[in-house]
């Protein structure tokens, strides 16, 4: 067609004007199945680029090959929401000279919108695109190879990056509408064999638990939701990715049916559980920044009341219109919670980075009620501690902590504690949970942290919350 933007990856890179030291960006909607980051960085390495800043919405186990590109000097800086696997391990031990900058999804969106995080070239994987760059996280053609659903984390990049390269494995006839990424924002379109393995979208952080303790925690958390004062017709809800926080939905559903209560919308990472409630008429709209499994991705494609939103529309702290500001209840998991209700979801108790901020900071801060669900212990590792290893979500945004040994309510929310007590739930002082944990496991020895800063945790307003030191 006339004005076709179709080209090869190398030519697209040449046309973009990318130079050493610039910032490139990626989304992580294919999660553990992503192929775009490794493909593009391999190509940049072959072309001789050095000293690049890789700004991804998140990185996972599959991005292990970046270790070599960091050693070779192709990548010298990283910004991301999270890190997992061998890459996380190597960085925790001091692989990089410059610390990784961690932002929440809403924080990343607003940093891109404000220009604080300036992207020179965005490489955005898409499951379909036409020759002009109208692109989606799904394809309506018979040749569809992949599906990731929402492209919410890629939309700020598409809109604000100086140069946008869409990478697709299904080139479709113009016009590819409705589209997520508009051709108006796209400079080049590149066709590859595969942008991602859709079967691995729900791998990684997301587990559907059969663990009896997770089920107990989920039932307790559901009781908290139901008796919190926010469980009324028209409420809105979001759940995180932990086994227990996902399972809560099942138990809330039973009460919704019994009491004739319907939710106005579910937000954030959308799962098959949420889709089921939506299709049953229990949730009016699905507001989807990231499809957490294939069922959710298909629903986004086929159901006009399942709506894609950008990271900015989802959770920016700087934009009052973002959806988190309308959110009533959020259920989140945690690696650690401390006696001041501060939460860590990023650094393991062994000092190694093993998670992602995700929307934790954003949803906890903006929602009317934030509930953290975590066991008291994981093996010998305590989850309720005197002080978190790394501060991710400040305690002032956290309202309730649910453990199998009792429910702690932030003293700033006495009315919630009263309602839960009135419902017969076991409300305890959070300090007693930390003491209980330490009476079972003993006192851990301090972690052997070094003095090199390997990570900087940003708050969603752009301030620095905490620093992560190398582990020896």
């Amino acid at each position: 067609m006339r004005n076709s933007k179709l080209t090869t990856l190398e030519e697209a890179i040449r046309r973009s004007g990318l130079r050493d030291g610039m910032t490139i960006s990626f989304h992580h909607h294919f999660r553990g199945g992503d192929k775009v980051v490794n493909l593009v960085v391999d190509c940049l390495s072959r072309m001789g680029f050095k000293d690049l800043h890789l700004a991804a919405s998140s990185l996972s186990d599959v991005h292990k090959p970046l270790i070599e590109h960091i050693k070779n000097g192709v990548i010298s800086r990283i910004s991301t929401s999270g890190l997992r696997g061998e890459l996380a391990d190597a960085i925790s031990r001091g692989l990089m000279e410059q610390p990784v900058v961690f932002r929440s999804h809403g924080g990343r969106g607003s940093a891109i919108a404000s220009g604080e995080l300036k992207i020179d070239v965005a490489f955005l994987g898409a499951s379909s695109s036409d020759e002009l760059g109208n692109a989606c996280g799904y394809s309506r053609s018979d040749c569809a190879k992949s599906i990731c659903g929402s492209l919410g984390y890629a939309l700020p990049d598409a809109r604000y990056a100086a140069h946008v390269v869409v990478i697709t494995d299904d080139l479709v006839a113009y016009p590819n509408m409705p589209m997520s990424i508009s051709a108006a924002d796209v400079e080049s379109v590149v066709v590859v064999d595969s942008v991602g393995d859709s079967s691995k979208i729900s791998a990684g952080a997301i587990r559907d638990s059969k663990n009896p303790r997770d089920i107990l925690l989920a039932k307790q958390a559901a009781k908290v939701v139901i008796n919190s004062g926010y469980f009324e017709d028209g409420f809105s809800i979001q759940t995180g990715t932990g086994g227990a926080s996902l399972a809560v939905v099942k138990y809330i559903r039973e009460q919704m049916l019994q009491q004739g209560i319907k939710a106005s919308f579910a937000l954030g990472g959308i799962t098959a559980h949420m889709v089921k409630l939506h299709e049953e008429g229990l949730i009016g709209r699905l507001v989807d920044v990231q499809s957490f499994d294939k069922v959710a991705a298909e629903s986004l494609k086929n159901d006009p009341t399942h709506q894609e939103v950008s990271a900015v529309e989802y959770a920016s702290g700087q934009h009052l219109g973002s959806a988190t500001h309308a959110l009533d209840i959020v259920i989140l998991s945690a690696l650690e919670v401390d006696v001041d209700f501060n939460v860590n979801v990023l650094v393991g108790s062994d000092g190694i980075i093993r998670g992602a901020i995700g929307g934790h900071q954003d949803t906890a801060a903006d929602s009317a009620l934030s509930i953290i669900v975590c066991p008291l212990l994981r093996g010998r590792i305590p989850c309720v501690v005197p002080k978190v290893t790394t501060l991710i979500t400040p305690g002032k945004s956290v309202d309730v902590v649910v453990t199998e040994y009792g429910i702690a309510v932030n003293p700033a929310r006495p009315e919630i504690a009263e309602r839960l007590q009135a419902a017969g739930l076991r409300v305890v002082d959070i300090k007693s949970l930390a003491e209980k944990a330490s009476s079972i496991i003993g006192t851990p020895e301090p972690l052997p942290f070094g003095d090199k800063v390997v990570g900087i945790v940003m708050n969603r307003d752009g301030s620095v919350l905490d620093k992560i030191y190398n582990i020896q």
Partner: protein, 91 residues
């Protein structure tokens, strides 16, 4: 006390796998998912348990997945009983 090779425990989270066999003095080899925070404590509990059972010469190889002290004692005791044939609960 004569020891044969014996095993107790599993590699499940919260458990440990203990392998015990003949040796000179008490040789404890530990691989633990919580080495940094609890390695010293776990070694001490393994040694105390064996000494309490009168085991003075043994090679013990342990893979720990975050077991609590009570679990460590139970697994080490079970391994020692299997290796020595001396049932500490009965005798």
């Amino acid at each position: 006390m004569e020891l044969k090779e014996a095993v107790a425990g599993t590699l499940e989270s919260g458990d440990m796998l203990v392998r015990i066999g003949p040796g000179e003095g008490l040789q404890v080899e530990l691989q633990s998912s919580v080495e940094a925070q609890f390695g010293r404590r776990i070694r001490a509990v393994i040694r105390e348990t064996l000494e309490g059972l009168g085991v003075e010469n043994a090679t013990v190889r342990v893979v720990d997945k975050g077991a609590l002290d009570c679990t460590i004692r139970a697994r080490v005791t079970a391994a020692a009983v299997r290796a020595s044939g001396k049932d500490v609960w009965k005798d």
